[in-house]
């Protein structure tokens, strides 16, 4: 899977944070979507919503206003609002008048965007730095043991350990994208995607 889009997403999120934007959008791909949901679970972003070319209505973004409590619970109990998410029965959650904006159909899938609500605390961005670890020309795979070393703050191979305060690394595995610490907990290795830091150094 190409990492070019992910590299662009990293830069874009950094730039948006520097510009103090409240809401920004990224191309809608499965990889980015799952990564952003992990970021949300770790507390780096507020909301992750799939929407159209224009921003979704505030009701869809406000985490507390999500009509479906199951949707909020679904990912780590965090604040999750998924606009127009299909439920088991096939019916679409949300207001019927805004349905066209939220529902993913074969016709509109190409124009979908991921709308990301960015977080700020004490007038500083919560996500200040986001960098690729694997590059498009050089992928880095690691076993669970090596990832455990990284999590402990040790340098493994050419990858520095997670020594920053509140720093995380995201790893793509055969069980999906997850945080490095969760990888160690579940004893699986994978390809290192990117590292996220609440501090800019």
């Amino acid at each position: 899977m190409s990492l070019v889009l992910l590299a662009h997403a990293c830069s874009h999120l950094q730039n948006a944070s520097k510009a103090r934007l409240g809401l920004t959008s990224l191309p809608s791909t499965t990889q980015l979507h799952t990564l952003l949901l992990q970021l949300q679970k770790s507390g780096y972003v507020n909301t992750v919503v799939i929407g159209g070319p224009t921003p979704p209505p505030p009701s869809a973004l406000a985490p507390t206003m999500s009509a479906n409590p199951e949707a909020r619970k679904e990912i780590g109990g965090g604040h999750v609002a998924v606009w127009g998410r299909r439920r088991e029965g096939g019916e679409v959650e949300g207001d019927e008048s805004e349905d066209a904006m939220g529902t993913i159909t074969q016709a509109n899938v190409a124009s979908r965007r991921l709308w990301v609500g960015l977080k700020y605390h004490n007038s500083r961005p919560v996500l200040e730095k986001m960098r690729l670890v694997s590059k498009p020309t050089r992928r880095v795979w690691m076993s669970m043991g090596d990832i455990a070393g990284l999590v402990r703050g040790e340098r493994r191979g050419y990858v520095d350990g997670l020594r920053g305060i509140g720093e995380s690394m995201f790893v793509t595995t055969d069980r999906g994208i997850m945080e490095a610490r969760e990888c160690v907990e579940r004893r699986i290795g994978g390809m290192l995607l990117c590292r996220v830091n609440p501090v800019s150094w």
Partner: protein, 400 residues
């Protein structure tokens, strides 16, 4: 040599090398130092305290009562004949020679070097005399208003006709405030150590501790007013002049040179400041820098009062440096300027790496900036919406 003899020879050797008992060569035996210093008995006349002249007591110092003395005792002091007889019997029983021998100051090596007859108990020095535990009354309680009023009524009823103020004072002094055992209130059991007596003026050294007498220069007075630190606190600051050099200003009159100082000051408990001073006079520049550093002190966040929170990277001018947090006992392993700053701030475990330029002035400024720009984990965790627990405090029971 037979077997048993050899065995005995082997096993009879002691573990420690025995002292050579026989001279194996003709030279003089080396003087051996004794294990303990020899204590020589003191001469009987030698006084322990040289400053006090001691007059030996003799039997002649204890003279018997004369007839005149006995008459005075009965007339002036109203001694009864029975008492006088007892005194005489006592005098007859005790030999003045014994008194002279026993009631004298000790001169031997175990004598005390101060004068005390050990007749009084000093609560601090001696084992305190405590009230017996029977004085404790678990049912003791304070009197309520009715009971106190009852006491007053009783006092007024039993008051003599010509009551004075003294009667009332006696009553208030003896008035009990609690109900229960009397000893529990008057002489309560306490396991507290006795307080150290106050007013030990003699312990104070002369010439110290009168703030009015200390001369403070106006610049220092201004510094004290600006910072709110006392003179003592300012003096206790650790101050280091880290950069000193000559600077020159070229004017049309010629070159004017000055001395530049860069000074750090810290209280070794988390406060650190840097200050610059420049003047044609070196002493003036030094004082300017010193006072500026103290005026500039800022609190440095310290993890466990010994290291920094996480790694910090900072750029100042062309200096790029990285301060790294380290475990207890690691020490301050870095270059001298950063080392001195850490000492002033009270950081004992730290590593640093200075890359690109290593200009001393900018290194110091960058270090100060880095120490101030630490991110506190609690703050970061709050931003992430996570709960943070320091497991070091949990594992070691808070003894870190």
């Amino acid at each position: 040599m037979s077997g048993p003899t050899l065995l005995r020879f082997v096993f009879s050797r002691s573990a420690t090398p025995s002292r050579c008992l026989r001279n194996l060569h003709s030279s003089n035996k080396l003087a051996q130092r004794p294990d303990f210093p020899k204590i020589l008995p003191k001469a009987p006349g030698e006084a322990l305290r040289k400053d006090v002249a001691r007059v030996p007591t003799t039997a002649n110092d204890f003279k018997a009562y004369s007839e005149e003395d006995k008459k005075k005792l009965s007339t002036h002091f109203n001694y009864t004949p029975a008492q006088l007889a007892a005194i005489e019997a006592g005098e007859a029983a005790i030999d003045p020679k014994d008194l002279a021998e026993q009631a004298t100051m000790r001169e031997d090596s175990f004598a005390f070097e101060y004068y005390d007859d050990f007749a009084t108990i000093h609560p601090v020095i001696d084992k305190p005399v405590r009230a017996p535990e029977e004085n404790y009354d678990p049912k003791m309680r304070y009197k309520n208003e009715d009971e106190i009023a009852e006491d007053f009524v009783k006092f007024i009823e039993e008051m003599p006709e010509d009551a004075t103020r003294l009667d009332y004072m006696k009553f208030t002094d003896n008035l009990r405030l609690t109900v229960g055992k009397e000893e529990a209130e008057r002489n309560p059991v306490s396991s507290l150590a006795p307080a150290i007596p106050k007013g030990l003026e003699s312990l104070k050294q002369p010439g110290i501790g009168k703030p009015g007498e200390v001369e403070v220069d106006p610049a220092m007075k201004r510094l004290m007013r600006q910072t709110g630190f006392s003179l003592d606190e300012i003096r206790r600051f650790r101050v280091k002049n880290l950069v000193v050099h000559r600077v020159v200003n070229q004017t049309r009159m010629g070159k004017i040179q000055s001395i530049y100082y860069l000074t750090v000051a810290g209280n070794m408990r988390g406060l650190l400041g840097i200050g610059e001073g420049k003047s044609t006079e070196a002493e003036d520049a030094r004082r300017q820098a010193h006072y500026a550093a103290i005026r500039n002190v800022q609190p440095i966040p310290r993890y466990e009062d010994r290291t920094i929170f996480g790694d910090v990277k900072v750029k100042m001018g062309a200096v790029e440096l990285e301060l790294m947090t380290r475990p207890p006992g690691f020490g301050i392993r870095c270059q001298d300027k950063i080392f001195e700053m850490c000492r002033c701030a009270g950081i004992s475990d730290l590593a640093a790496r200075v890359t690109r330029s290593r200009n001393p002035m900018n290194t110091i400024k960058a270090t100060f900036k880095a120490l101030l720009s630490q991110r506190i984990p609690d703050e970061v965790a709050r931003g992430l919406g996570k709960k943070l627990v320091d497991v070091r405090k949990v594992y070691y029971g808070g003894n870190v």
